[in-house]
């Protein structure tokens, strides 16, 4: 008896399992089956201990390390390697050579900041061949070289490591010679200034007018020029399985949280794509969550913006061949700000910031509100306005929702078309398309004029959003709110808002919440929406957990 029962049970169990299995194969039904969720190693950015003490990384060798250079060239070499984080920092070049045929010496310079022609044809040639036959027993070989050998305009002598390193990051070439406690600094600065053009997409009124170009070393030299600090570190990595292009990770040692860098490098190393052609492709492969519609990295073509992001403790990723950098980790407010905000007096900055906030809200909610108001809550429109709306609607054959969606789509079409049309026709097309199409549609009685106003206002509002990815996300969410407004009026919109903001609060960029520092509330400089006078901005944003949170005063 018992065994029979047992068998039946087993058979039942087996058939049940089979049923579950088959259900699992059908794409829709497999949603209904319980599966243990796979454990993902989710990256969480944990709080770091604040370290605002004086013995920080930048100044640490003032206390610990030797101030003056050694006479032993090996010690000097080691020290320079240490200070510049060589070989991590790969654009600092150390060229070893022999002077007078047998005295050890080396040159330190940063690739891209010096004139290679002078280096190769003048300095190296003279140092290597011109010193032959010099009397090394002479009182001071360093002076002699400076006086007789090197035919460069500015030559300086120094024996302080700090000063020397500053000069190197400023585009000087340092010459260390064995046995001498002096270092020669040769001015050979030559910034790359090839075809640096005005930024196309991020325009400002008062900001700088240069943008990145496609050449990675040039871009780095632009950044080096704007951010002259030896803690600014550039690491090269190779990405792309086939095209093997370079990619640079840039950060400021001592500010950027090392955890972020570790995670970022891990993610970039994981990229096993056939070819990475553009920063956008890399961006998609390193973001936290691919299903969220909000951008999780910030893309900028402005060097000044990139530097300000660096100083906030963010890491930059730059791909060879892309005229822009991606910054991580970012928040909504990084996307929301322009490089202009801090450039202007705080009153002006606050004003345009409020206008932009208004624009964001209009771009997201205006059409949805309109549809909810007109279809569901007519009692909330004042009588005269209602009369205007009703009069405008008379004779329009479509229901309001169709009307609205047609106009929204038409607007999106015009927008997309005008950005694809070559040259200056684009702008004209936009104006002509919008004006003439709208006017004709109203006169033909296809849409009501009030609706055109709504669509146009929300469209214009969308243009105030500085970040292209964010503005796309907002354009898409606008349709979501139109749908919600259509389904259940203001009730639907409030449900939509709830879901929308929960999603927004759950987005993370390298472990940093998207809506930080507002939700969760964190300490930050007072520049979220309203800015305060610039001397109040003492803190780096807390969410990126910078090693040092207090900015230098």
């Amino acid at each position: 008896m018992y065994s029979e029962y047992h068998k039946t049970m087993q058979r039942l169990k087996a058939s049940g399992l089979r049923l579950v299995e088959t259900m699992g194969k059908i794409p829709f039904l497999n949603l209904l089956i319980y599966k243990e969720s796979p454990k993902k190693d989710k990256f969480e950015l944990l709080e770091t201990k604040e370290d605002d003490s004086e013995d920080d990384v930048i100044n640490e060798h003032k206390v610990v390390k030797e101030k003056y250079i050694y006479s032993d060239i090996k010690a000097n070499l080691k020290r320079i390697r240490e200070d510049f984080n060589i070989p991590q920092n790969s654009d600092v070049i150390i060229r070893e050579l022999k002077i007078c045929g047998y005295i050890d010496a080396f040159l330190v310079f940063i690739n891209g900041l010096i004139d290679k022609k002078i280096l190769n044809e003048v300095v190296l040639k003279n140092l290597m061949s011109g010193t032959r036959g010099m009397d090394y027993e002479e009182e001071d070989l360093v002076d002699a070289i400076a006086e007789r050998i090197i035919n460069v305009g500015i030559v300086k002598k120094h024996n302080l490591f700090d000063r020397i390193e500053d000069f190197i990051t400023n585009g000087y070439c340092a010459l260390f010679i064995d046995g001498y406690e002096k270092c020669l600094l040769l001015e050979m600065t030559a910034y790359e200034k090839r075809n640096i053009e005005k930024p196309e997409n991020e325009k400002t009124i008062r900001g700088s007018k240069e943008s990145f170009v496609e050449d990675l070393p040039t871009n780095i030299s632009i950044l080096r020029r704007l951010f002259r600090n030896k803690n600014f570190i550039v690491e090269y990595m190779k990405i792309g399985a086939e095209n093997n292009i370079g990619c640079a990770i840039m950060y400021v040692k001592g500010i950027t949280n090392p955890e972020i860098l570790k995670e970022l490098k891990k993610r970039i190393n994981k990229v096993k794509s056939e070819a990475i052609l553009n920063s956008g492709m890399l961006e998609q492969r390193i973001e936290d969550n691919k299903w969220m519609i909000f951008p999780q990295t910030l893309n900028t073509e402005r060097p000044d913006r990139a530097v300000s992001l660096l100083m906030e403790g963010k890491a930059l990723v730059m791909v060879e061949g892309s005229p822009c950098v991606n910054a991580v980790p970012i928040t909504f407010f990084d996307l929301y700000h322009t490089s202009e905000d801090n450039n202007l007096k705080w009153q002006y900055g606050s004003f345009i910031s409020i206008i932009r906030l208004l624009g964001v809200f209009m771009a997201v909610f205006l059409p949805g509100f309109y549809i909810a108001l007109v279809l569901y809550s007519q009692e909330m429109i004042s009588s005269e306005l209602l009369a205007s709306i009703a009069a405008a609607r008379e004779g329009v054959p479509f229901p309001t929702i169709i009307e609205l969606i047609i106009m929204e789509l038409a607007f999106e079409l015009i927008r997309e078309a005008s950005s694809r049309v070559p040259g200056s026709i684009g702008e004209t097309l936009g104006i002509v398309g919008a004006l003439i199409l709208g006017q004709a549609a109203v006169q033909a009685g296809l849409v009501s004029p009030i609706l055109i106003i709504v669509v146009a206002a929300s469209g214009i509002a969308n243009f105030v959003i500085p970040d292209y990815s964010l503005s796309l996300a907002i354009r898409i969410s606008r349709f979501f709110f139109i749908l919600m407004g259509y389904m259940a009026g203001f009730y639907g919109i409030s449900i939509g808002m709830f879901i929308f903001f929960v999603i927004m609060c759950s987005v993370k960029s390298l472990g940093v919440p998207f809506l930080a520092p507002v939700a969760p509330k964190l300490r930050t400089s007072p520049d979220i929406i309203l800015t305060k006078p610039i001397d109040k901005m003492n803190y780096r944003p807390d969410e990126s957990n910078a090693v040092k949170k207090l900015k230098k005063e």
Binding site: S37, S377, S382, Y491, I495, V502, C505, L515, P520
Partner: protein
Amino acid sequence: MNEGKVGNIEMICLIVNAIVCKAFFTSVAAVIQKVGTAGWYMTLISAAVSLAVFGLMYIMIRAYEGKNILEIYDEIVGKKAGRLLTLVSCMILFLSASITLREFTDATNVYLLHVSPPGYIVGMFIIAMIVVCFFGIEGLARTAKFFSYILLINFLIVMVLSIQHYQIYRLYPLLGYGLGNTVKNGIMRSSAYGEIILIGIFAKALNNTKDAGKIGLKCLILGGLFIAQILFSVIASFPYFTAAELADPLYIMVSLIEYGRFFQRVEVIFIFTWNLSTLIGLTAIFYGAVISYCHAFDIKDKRPIIISFAISIYAATLIIPSITIILDYVVPTLRDYGWVGFYSPIFIAIIIWFFFKRGKQTYAEKS
């Protein structure tokens, strides 16, 4: 349970929403019917009673650091009896969520969506709840905080604008139906603040469980002030006999706001306050119920439970066909006797802890 971390202010926003959202519906009228013009300070008595009960819960949370109240039940009375206490909490939260949701649905049906079947309104609400619960309490709490500022501003605007309808004489006679009646109802109605037990349930999501005391105190003070303010404004805007008639006095009060020809018909501000606050509050209560259930049966993965719970809430909300039954029997019963469900597990646990466990615990700590 991997729930993420919730900041203290975020937790306050969450719980205050869960407490206050009930006051947007029929409860206001019910209170005024019972205690007349004394309603606005009666609720403060309720808040004080709840504070006392919360104090008892906090004593236990402090004694067992790093544990939520459900785990503490297990520690004190053993796993099996603890499961019973947990299920009582789960049950009352479930009921509270479904009944408040029903009130919300009916109010929405009357004032906003007249033709939509209740199932449609509840359905949308439940979908939002499910989606949000999938993102976990962290996202919910952050959203709660994000919205709370906006909701607070909206609420204050509405309250300030309706000052034009306040008439001081309507607050008289000051004692309502007598002081004894007020106090009695105040104690009975302490279940209005029963959602405070959510702090115990979410305790582990806090950075430090010891913060629960401060948070609970602030929640009750804020919640009490908000509800008192709502009752005060309604009583000052309508005489007690009219306010008791209205299905949703607060909404009517807002619809009366009128400043000149253009600035009127501003209910829309209030609709957002109303909807969003209810969405946040009920999702928190719902999530609390799911956590309690999962804890009682040691379920690690909450997601399948969320969906089935949501469907049960959907059914429980719509099971009673008529609003009159809800208003006459269900809501008064929950509000008057809900404290049994909310607070009795705490009473039982604290008594057992006090007489049997406390000594052992201090002994263990010493040695």
